[in-house]
């Protein structure tokens, strides 16, 4: 009678399992094991060093990993639908600059947070709107955005703050609340919400269907414009949260220099999590595990005693290797699609 009256855990498990391909399940299992090994490795090393403490390491974890994880969750939805946004780092820089400007004009902390969140969200929606309006590849629009938004951040800072020394320093503790005190809470809440949404929600499935075939969606009567724009709309909400956590965790905001390479970390986390870079397949849980793996591998490099200068190169190489591996797996399918 199990089939007629399935117990609730079985139903959730079946719901989720139906959504995931065997390849995706395999990737997530590997990532889970990889994360455990890395955490074990770091635990071992913190026990060896007198100055290092595993509890300190864990306390720093949420604040450091939350921005990439939140932005990667947002980007996962966008990649589901076959688009991409490589301007996420620059959008966060603009949002941070807006927060800094409001701070300099002595706005209250809540107003600053709202301004930061709304800026990031609206720029993400603007990207989606431009992609629909101009009918251009998402990657080109957002490549333009990558430069444009960083320039915009500098321009806004110089226009509003005179003199502008190149950085905005935020000293008051209350302006650091979301990043320093609530990062764990935000991360856990978003993670649980996203997992439930992935299991029971309909919208992610629409996005995946759109990523598989825009034409099929159109024929089925799904509004393609709304579907594609909704990925940026929802992605913007996550990006807004990511901006808030990232910016409020910093003492200084430097529009010209900060967060270079952030977009690669975010794309790396998404692809590492098993989401197909061409759309149509993926998992939010995979993305979360992927971003955790990237963070722990960065920490492992640190505990191995490798020079700080090598860090960018090694992390770049890890992400490239993962994306390359992903593309090799999908190569045959892509060639078959080409021949259809």
């Amino acid at each position: 009678m199990n089939e007629t009256n399935p117990s609730i855990p079985d139903t959730i498990w079946q719901h989720w399992n139906r959504r995931l391909s065997p390849l995706l399940r395999q990737r997530m299992t590997l990532l889970f094991i990889g994360n455990l090994i890395l955490v074990g490795f770091i635990f071992y090393h913190t026990q060896q060093h007198e100055k290092a403490s595993f509890l300190d390491e864990l306390s720093r974890f949420s604040a450091n990993v939350a921005p990439v994880t939140l932005a990667a969750i947002g980007l996962t939805g966008i990649i589901y639908a076959g688009s991409i946004d490589i301007s996420v780092g620059s959008i966060i820089v603009v949002a941070g600059t807006v927060l800094g400007i409001f701070y300099e004009y002595q706005a209250s902390a809540l107003v600053c947070f709202a301004a930061c969140f709304i800026t990031a969200w609206s720029l993400s929606v603007l990207n989606g709107y431009l992609i629909r309006l101009l009918r251009l590849p998402a990657i080109i629009i957002t490549l333009g955005g990558l430069a444009f938004y960083r320039g915009l951040a500098l321009f806004l800072a110089q226009l509003s703050l005179q003199p502008f020394s190149g950085q905005i320093s935020i000293q008051q503790e209350i302006y650091h609340t979301p990043g320093k005190q609530y990062a764990s809470l935000i991360l856990i809440t978003v993670t649980i919400t996203v997992i439930l949404w992935e299991i029971f929600g309909k919208t992610p499935r629409y996005w995946l269907a759109f990523g598989c075939s825009e034409n099929a969606c159109r024929l089925r009567g799904v509004s393609t414009g709304v579907t594609q724009l909704s990925t940026f709309f929802v992605g913007g909400l996550f990006l807004g949260l990511a901006s808030l956590v990232e910016i409020t965790n910093r003492m200084t905001i430097e529009p010209a220099r900060m967060l270079t390479g952030f977009e690669l970390d975010v794309i790396g986390a998404v692809v590492l999590g098993g989401t197909n870079i061409f759309g149509g397949e993926g998992s939010f849980v995979g993305t979360i595990l992927g971003s955790f793996f990237l963070y722990w591998s960065g920490q492992a490099i640190f505990y191995l005693g490798i020079s700080e200068y090598w860090r960018t190169a090694i992390q770049g190489a890890i992400i490239l290797a993962v994306i390359g591996f992903d593309c090799i797996i999908h190569k045959k399918q892509k060639q078959l699609d080409e021949l259809r």
Partner: protein, 313 residues
């Protein structure tokens, strides 16, 4: 739009921005002297971009893109800066730089042709990877460039750039290679069925990009005099915007080196104008805007009149 649109745009841009770039209009002789200096400065600024835009035009024609050229140029210049000026630079530095340039170009080609990673993702990855290697090589230092100064001024870099793009463009226009990379950019499956070695052509294009990055690194480092890990950040965007403004579509299959040449001058005039105005921070803002506008015009209005034909230099 017709082919004269770009030269007219360039002329209008020069009329607007030249007065802010230090050219005085007090008398004809003063104007001519100032304008001569301005032109030599403009050409020397444009030369490395011109060299890279030649390669980028070919890359875009294959429906690819190379975002890593800024980091590639910086990495080559960082490695070259480890050599002493003089004989050891020419005997050891240049061969090492050449091997490195081939290696970097080959690596990009391998990621794109061998592993089938989308070019924009692969080269976004190598952008950060190569930049990370720059930090590994010279750390936080600023090294003096051993490249001779004449390579960076108007008498060295400009003839070099013009010869490379002129002779290269002439050979390219006539060659079967041009038709093959145009075809694989236009329709990769058709190109494969037509017996064109698609993978080899992609490798060759990115290898050429690597070699051109070496030449550009020599010119630019000789002009600037010193290099550091963050040197030439954002160079890739200038080159891509120049090529796209020049009429090469991002979806491949066509392109003009002549158009890219005018695109490079549009970018260089803008750069000098913004420097003269003291508003250099507006550069990324304008580049981003120009990139999206250029692609939109190319896609929807056939902006530069490149109807699938490649014109010679």
């Amino acid at each position: 739009m017709k082919q004269w649109t770009l030269p007219i745009l360039l002329t209008i841009e020069m009329i607007v921005l030249v007065p802010y770039s230090g050219v005085r209009f007090e008398s004809p002789s003063i104007f001519l002297t100032d304008f001569g200096f301005y032109l030599s400065d403009l050409c020397a600024t444009a030369a490395p971009l011109l060299i890279l835009s030649f390669g980028m035009t070919l890359v875009l024609m294959t429906a690819g893109i190379d975002l890593s050229i800024g980091s590639m140029v910086a990495l080559i210049a960082c490695i070259l800066s480890l050599f002493d000026p003089g004989l050891s630079f020419w005997m050891l530095g240049i061969p090492c730089g050449f091997l490195l340039a081939i290696g970097l170009g080959w690596f990009n080609g391998w990621l794109i042709a061998g592993l089938d990673i989308p070019p924009i993702i692969a080269t976004l990855g190598t952008l950060f990877f190569y930049r990370g290697l720059c930090e590994v090589v010279i750390g936080g230092r600023e090294n003096i460039s051993p490249a001779p100064v004449w390579l960076g001024d108007v008498y060295g870099s400009v003839p070099l750039a013009m010869t490379l793009t002129g002779l290269g463009g002439w050979y390219f226009y006539q060659s079967r290679w041009r038709r093959e990379i145009q075809m694989l950019g236009g329709n990769r499956i058709a190109a494969r069925y037509a017996g064109i070695p698609v993978q080899r052509r992609i490798y060759e294009t990115y290898l050429l990009m690597g070699i051109l990055a070496l030449v550009a690194a020599l010119c630019a480092s000789a002009r600037d005099g010193s290099v550091k890990a963050s040197w030439q950040t954002g160079l890739e965007l200038q080159v891509i915007v120049a090529v796209i403004l020049g009429g090469t579509p991002v979806h491949g299959g066509s392109g003009t080196i002549r158009g890219s040449l005018i695109g490079v001058f549009i970018i260089s005039v803008l750069e000098l104008g913004l420097m003269g105005l003291g508003k250099s921070e507006l550069k990324p803002l304008l580049l981003g805007f120009l990139l999206v506008t250029g692609v939109a015009l190319n896609t929807h209005f056939q902006f530069s009149g490149s109807e699938g034909a490649t014109h010679k230099e």
